[in-house]
């Protein structure tokens, strides 16, 4: 249903951009962390629109469930919320830098000929993306398209096994590093 999807897209865009602006502009750091969670949720909505449901769920699980909470924890423990979100002296260069980049990116996005795949193929991609994540939904017969496809899990541990292991190593390093940092010097 393209109408519904378009509507959803516009709503999500407005919410995401407004919330993102809120994150960087609101003075109360706690509120800006909450707005950050809103940004995350709307990005998850975008993922659903792009029929990447698995990614959407992961986005909510990790960003909203863990990262936002970590941020809020950090804000709470460092306790300088009300005065917290003050801008520094680089205000004008930052605005200029960001807007220049924005103009450039939008120009590139619009002027480039992306050669998107045809609409019929796009719908098949939708179905394939949906189904190759976790098998076909119960009760529905799987379309022939998805069966030839490699699922996300297989992709991760077959083709992308090296980056996968690298990321695991990174996580481990981060875990140890976090522990080392958070451990107080005395104990």
């Amino acid at each position: 249903m393209p109408v519904v999807q378009d509507l959803a897209f516009w709503v999500l865009s407005v919410v995401a951009i407004a919330a993102a602006l809120g994150v960087v502009l609101v003075k109360d750091l706690f509120r800006s962390a909450l707005l950050l969670a809103v940004v995350f949720i709307s990005v998850a909505g975008f993922f659903v629109l792009l029929s990447a449901e698995f990614l959407a769920v992961v986005q909510v699980l990790i960003y909203v469930g863990a990262i936002s909470v970590l941020f809020i924890f950090g804000i709470m423990l460092t306790r300088n919320v009300r005065e917290g979100n003050v801008p520094n002296r680089l205000q004008i260069p930052a605005v200029m830098c960001a807007s220049l980049l924005l103009v450039g990116m939008i120009a590139a996005a619009i002027n480039t000929d992306w050669r998107p795949i045809p609409e019929a193929a796009a719908q098949m991609v939708d179905a394939a993306q949906t189904q190759s994540v976790a098998g076909p939904p119960a009760g529905a017969s799987s379309s022939g398209y998805a069966e030839q496809d490699t699922g996300l899990a297989e992709l991760l541990i077959a083709d992308f096994v090296l980056p996968f292991e690298a990321v695991s190593l990174l996580l481990l390093a981060a875990l140890i590093g976090g522990l080392a940092l958070a451990r107080s010097r005395g104990s």
Binding site: M1, V3, V4, D28, F30, R31, L34, A37, E53, F54, V57, V58, V60, L61, V64, G65, A66, S68, V69, I72, F73, M76, A127, T130, Q131, V133, A134, G135, P136, P137, A138, G139, A140, S141, S143
Partner: protein, 407 residues
């Protein structure tokens, strides 16, 4: 003009939804029918959660009363069944208080944010054959993701209340939520692995033998983790009323309190429903075509009763002990379960990739032994950590008095 749902839609499998959609679709345009059918189902879900919460408040108070040799609420209606109504009326007529210095917007948002994830979680639970709103193929993951929103809501409650007890409660609740997420996810991985699907409908169908027999360890970890996430005894530090009044919702009153309370008890119901689906076989049972909802309700009731029973019996752990329990006991158990189940699935699965009934029975036998052994082993491991080294008795001895001492 009539509308047909595409057969690969996630809503297709839902019988009720399809029925409403097709009937409304006869007279109205398809997108209106789409919305109306959705609203009908949302109405059912919201009512299921809130009514379930009401029934559980009543049931908990009655059963807890009987555990304590009391009667429990029995004035309103037969067996006090209308007690939740009376409570609600009372709470609705209360003055709406907001503490001074609180963050107005955030404070008001919290009750909604507490209830919403529950209703979302219910959306993927099959009450009977083909009745889940959306048989999402990432159902289990969806439940975990949505339930994690609660931690943000709790933080918002604690922060915006401008009360130190609320802050304590929020910090504790979030710490518990984060630590118990991991063992719960790991225990669910085993389930997903055996069922070979993350969709709850498929998991129910895969339970030729209920999974609490196949993976008792996962069931144990899940129940323990979930009672921690729900702030149920013995892990109810977040709203330990003897320590921090009511934790993060200390400052809430009136209808906001009612909503938070509904979220708490509704949470018990929803988690019980999920546990019944994942581990007790959901709606499956004799004549499940027609009586599926009954089996489902009975199994949910059993889990709720278990929660109440634990609450009636156990004192509360301290926050650091709860963390230790999660990281040092539940996490290793969940990992043991994961490794064992992986090996079993790898070895027992036939060529067509399906586990037969016999396979499940073999797994059940092995896993029961593994459960007993690993609980004993890890229990003894943490026992040394948690029990206190007995000091040498050193007392002022007064002669001529017969005494008895702590063993």
């Amino acid at each position: 003009m009539s509308c047909q749902l595409a057969s690969d839609s996630i809503l297709y499998a839902n019988g009720i939804y399809r029925l409403v959609y097709e009937i409304v679709g006869v007279v109205l345009p398809c997108w209106v029918a789409y919305a109306i059918a959705g609203l009908v189902f949302a109405f059912i879900l919201v009512n299921a959660v809130l009514l379930g919460a009401a029934v559980i408040t009543w049931g908990e108070r009655r059963v807890l009363g009987r555990f304590q040799n009391r009667v429990g609420p029995n004035r309103w209606g037969p067996f006090g069944l209308f007690q939740p109504v009376a409570d609600l009326v009372k709470l609705l007529t209360k003055e709406d208080l907001r503490p001074e210095g609180s963050d107005r917007v955030v404070f008001s948002l919290v009750p909604v944010l507490m209830v919403a994830p529950l209703i979302l979680m219910t959306a993927v639970v099959p009450f009977a054959k083909n009745t889940a709103l959306a048989s999402l193929n990432v159902g289990v993951l969806f439940i975990l993701a949505v339930s994690s929103i609660t931690s943000v809501a709790i933080f918002m409650a604690g922060w915006s209340s401008n009360n130190r007890y609320a802050m304590f409660g929020a910090a504790r609740a979030v710490a518990v939520l984060i630590s118990y997420e991991i063992p719960v996810v790991l225990s669910l991985l085993g389930v997903v692995m055996v069922a070979a699907s993350m969709s709850l409908g498929t998991i129910v169908a895969a339970q030729a033998l209920p999974f609490f027999l196949v993976q008792p360890l996962a069931f144990f970890v899940f129940m323990a983790g979930m009672s921690a996430e729900l702030n149920r005894s013995p892990f109810d530090v977040a709203e330990a009323e003897s320590e921090i009044i009511a934790g993060y919702h200390t400052e809430y009153s009136g209808v906001r309190f009612a909503l938070i309370q509904a979220a708490e008890f509704g949470g018990v119901g929803v988690v019980a429903a999920i546990a019944a689906t994942l581990f007790l076989g959901g709606w499956s049972g004799p004549w499940s075509e027609y009586l599926g909802w009954l089996w489902f309700l009975i199994k949910t009731g059993i889990i709720v009763f278990l929660f109440i029973w634990f609450r009636a019996t156990y004192p509360r752990l301290r926050i650091d002990q709860i963390m230790a329990f999660s990281w040092k006991f539940l996490l290793p158990l969940a990992m043991v379960n994961l490794v064992v189940v992986t090996l079993e699935v790898f070895l027992l699965r036939g060529d067509e990739g399906v586990l037969t009934h016999t396979d499940l029975a073999i797994m059940a036998a092995i896993n029961l032994a593994v459960t007993a052994i690993s609980i004993a082993v890890f229990g003894n491991l943490i026992k040394d950590r948690v029990t206190f080294r007995t000091r040498q008795p050193q007392q002022v001895v007064v002669p001529g008095v017969s005494t008895i001492e702590v063993s």
